[in-house]
Symmetry: C2
Subunit: 137 residues, 2 copies
């Protein structure tokens, strides 16, 4: 199976990553997602990685890429369901997933996306408030 299915739910797209993202699969996912955002006018992308137990810099980069591309297409990206061990590994690898919002599960991710969409409707760019820099006081 060469493609990861993208599910449309209202104004959001949902992707569940269950397999290892090797090169072509990741590139397909990127282009499929951006095409879906363009085609459906989705305002948010939810990426569930609860089945991912091993993360590397490639995976981190792909998630960052998707978030950046989606943002250009006016959609926010939220990564949900990250396992604690994955979070530990990410930090140890020095990957902070810049520009990617995270939430504990799909429901919380949807709430967050809804808030982001409502928030960014009037003003334009105010992304610092939930970035990791917040906690370096």
């Amino acid at each position: 199976m060469e493609r990861i299915p993208i599910l449309k739910m209202g104004s959001f797209l949902l992707v569940t990553i269950q397999v290892d993202l090797y090169d072509r699969l990741a590139l397909n996912l990127e282009s499929d997602l951006i095409n879906m955002v363009s085609k459906t006018g989705a305002r948010g992308v939810l990426i569930d990685i609860s089945a991912v137990s091993i993360v590397d810099s490639f995976m981190g980069r792909i998630l960052g890429n998707i978030a950046s591309m989606s943002r250009i297409m006016d959609a926010e990206t939220v990564v949900v369901g990250m396992q604690p061990a994955v979070a530990i590994t990410l930090v140890e690898l020095g990957l902070t997933l810049q520009g990617v919002y995270t939430a504990l599960d799909v429901e919380k991710g949807m709430e967050l996306l809804q808030k982001k969409i409502d928030l960014y409707a009037p003003q334009s760019e105010d992304e610092e408030e939930q970035s990791p820099d917040d906690y370096t006081d």
Copy 2:
């Protein structure tokens, strides 16, 4: 990755099947789903098989099992995103997916589930109306 993630969305559970369901994975999925239905009190199960291009009698049986088990736990099952080729194969194999409702995509599946839940709330058992027998006049 030994388990297929089950996402909770409101009163529904969503499963996306992206890999071949070999024996243990299918059994894990069955037990995980039933446990989740029990734990969350979910009223519906959505199974997305849009990434499944090859279906056999085993897969058909697993889907039927999940639907039967869920029904005992008071949850309806809807299979969504079936590829046309898969539908053709199922019929050619003589598998009618008894007791399993189908819908074109996740959104339509959710609508159907919502209707089923509303419908079965007052009365008790009236499952014939959407069964394949309907068309044998």
